[in-house]
């Protein structure tokens, strides 16, 4: 049966809501570019059954109230049924009630601290069991179990630090030496006292949940203090290629990040996507884990649309749940029961080239467990393969 109504021939309008300015704009811009690149690819290949995807883009300026207001605007004025966006948990939490109130759909391409499920959200970043568990395992096995926690002052670091602390404390001889927070708009001086404390406490490793522009300040303060990543590295879930480009490659070298995607991934899909990105946006964009999630989720949306009568949540959700896509990180799948995504945990060590050397890698996708129902260290099913 052919669908030939006027409406179904017009473009599919979607809302795109990232932060192009403000403290998290480096990641925000990369997420926007991942989104736009995928839209370009989809439209270039004939759109969704001939229909173009038309992004309506706003800059949320790293401000949660602005996220909420713009989401409302996108839904009520621009009449979109689907929004792609958000980075910090506070921005997702600001948009969530708006999305639920109007029964719309949000694609959220960011790792976060878990403990959430909404019928109206598809989560394409890592849940804690897809990055924290592997990082705790790797760091404690290779460096020791005396950990020093530093984070930005908001909910994601509180909860992430708590999860990391709980995981590390399962190790014999483990110790949580401190849990320190700096403002989201921290200044370099905010790290001085922390570096002095680290010097006197001598942890085995530092776990950082600092996000945004202050990430570079932390790593710079570490370098200036003369610490050695070989014996006391910083481990993170959010320090990606984008943050590294802000701090300087030499400053980042030797530190570890746990993520399902690194730019250095040697796969056909990844090389292709990166080449197309460079052609479209030049070298200004710094691809990272959130860029990749933003990129593949748009393709998953387009694929679901090809099997759907329309873009309303009730029509498209059944097509999305359980769907798979050959993403740059590997073949991902949206879990039907919790709306999070099956991903490939990896551990990368930052090199002097600004890229990550992948030192551990999951061969099979890891099922998302946002409520951390199982999270024991030493569980061999969670163990990653060593990369030689």
């Amino acid at each position: 049966m052919a669908r030939t109504t006027e409406r179904s021939k017009g473009p599919i309008r979607v809302g795109v809501l990232f932060s192009e300015t403000g403290v998290t704009s480096t990641i925000g811009r990369s997420q926007l570019q991942g989104t736009l690149l995928a839209i370009d690819e989809i439209n270039g290949a004939g759109g969704v059954d001939g229909r173009e995807i038309l992004p309506i883009t706003f800059d949320a300026q790293s401000s949660p109230p602005r996220y909420a207001a713009l989401a409302e605007h996108l839904i009520t004025r621009d009449k979109v049924n689907v929004i792609f966006g958000c980075y910090m948990s506070s921005s997702r939490k600001a948009v969530l009630p708006v999305i639920e109130k109007w029964n719309k759909l949000l694609f959220y391409p960011t790792l976060y601290e878990g403990f959430e499920f909404s019928n109206n959200i598809i989560y394409t970043g890592a849940a804690p069991n897809q990055n924290s568990v592997q990082l705790a395992e790797f760091m404690t096995a290779n460096f020791g179990s005396r950990v020093y926690l530093i984070g930005s002052d908001y909910i994601y670091p509180y909860e992430s630090n708590r999860i990391m602390g709980d995981l590390v404390l399962q190790r014999p001889g483990s110790e949580k030496l401190a849990e320190r927070y700096v403002p989201l708009d921290a200044a370099p001086a905010d790290f001085d006292a922390i570096m002095r404390d680290i010097r006197s406490q001598q942890p085995n490793f530092i776990f950082s949940t600092v996000v945004g522009d202050s990430t570079a300040m932390l790593y710079s303060a570490y370098a200036q203090a003369g610490f050695d990543p070989k014996t006391m590295p910083i481990a993170s879930l959010t320090t990606s290629e984008a943050e590294i480009s802000q701090m300087g490659w030499d400053v980042a070298a030797g530190h570890y990040t746990s993520a399902p995607y690194f730019q250095s991934l040697d796969s056909e899909n990844n090389r292709g996507a990166l080449a197309r990105l460079r052609r479209r946006f030049g070298d200004e964009c710094v691809p990272n884990l959130c860029w990749e999630a933003a990129y593949f989720q748009m393709h998953m949306f387009a694929n679901a649309m090809r099997h759907s009568e329309g873009d309303e949540i009730a029509q498209i959700m059944p097509q999305l749940l359980g769907s798979e896509f050959e993403a740059p990180q590997g073949r991902v799948r949206i879990d039907a029961s919790n709306h999070h995504t099956c991903l490939y945990p990896r551990i990368g060590r930052a090199e002097a080239t600004g890229q990550f050397k992948i030192v551990r890698e999951a061969r099979r996708p890891v099922h998302p467990d946002p409520y951390m129902v199982t999270h024991s260290l030493g569980d061999w099913t969670a163990k990653l393969e060593e990369q030689l």
């Binding site: 009630p97 601290e113 403990f115 908001y154 909910i155 909860e159």
Partner: protein, 197 residues
């Protein structure tokens, strides 16, 4: 009229909350950031348990006759849940706040709070009663030992004293124990302690 303090930012949820409370007949005052002391006579506190307040201490939540606390939560992760428990909240209201469900949460929380207060008063009373009974046994033993009287006579002595001094038998028993301790100072180790098994 129920006096309710709403510790919540002045936003859509905060207004929804105060308006619905007013509709159901509560006297509402709203504050944000949270005030350290509550208005005199506050019966119920609605507290927005937001990430930035998880480190705060709320003295009012610790007092014996603390007002009923209802937590308004946006996140459901362990950090927030732990704060809700620490505040001894008796009900949780999820945000975004809907007017429906607020009344039930309020009634349940108030009932649970008064039951807990009632029970802890009862427990305290029973504990002191139990302690008193133990003291009477000890005082009887002292009298039996020093006066060479039977248990019944020892108890009669205590009760007579209580009646003439217009005190409770527990008070008299306490006084006897004290006096005995003072009088046997220095000979404690020599005194037989027959009453202890």
């Amino acid at each position: 009229m129920l006096r309710v303090a709403v510790l919540h930012p002045d936003d859509a949820d905060g207004r929804q909350l105060t308006q619905q409370l007013q509709r159901i007949g509560c006297q509402v005052q709203a504050f944000w950031p949270p005030v350290p002391t509550l208005p005199e006579g506050t019966d119920v506190v609605f507290l927005a348990v937001q990430p930035e307040i998880t480190q705060l201490e709320f003295e009012w939540s610790k007092s014996e006759n603390a007002p009923t606390c209802i937590a308004v939560v946006t996140y459901e992760n362990p950090t927030i849940v732990e704060t809700v428990l620490r505040l001894k909240a008796k009900a949780v209201l999820p945000a975004p706040v809907r007017s429906f469900g607020l009344l039930s949460a309020l009634v349940i929380a108030r009932t649970v709070n008064s039951e807990i207060q009632c029970q802890s008063r009862r427990v305290r009373k029973l504990e002191s009663k139990l302690a008193g009974a133990r003291q009477i046994v000890e005082a009887k033993n002292i009298l039996m030992r020093t006066r060479k009287v039977s248990e019944g006579q020892a108890y009669d002595l205590i009760r007579e004293q209580a009646m003439s001094k217009r005190a409770t038998t527990e008070d008299i028993a306490g006084a006897i124990i004290n006096a005995n301790e003072i009088l046997s100072m220095g000979v404690v180790s020599a005194a037989p302690k027959g009453e202890d098994p």
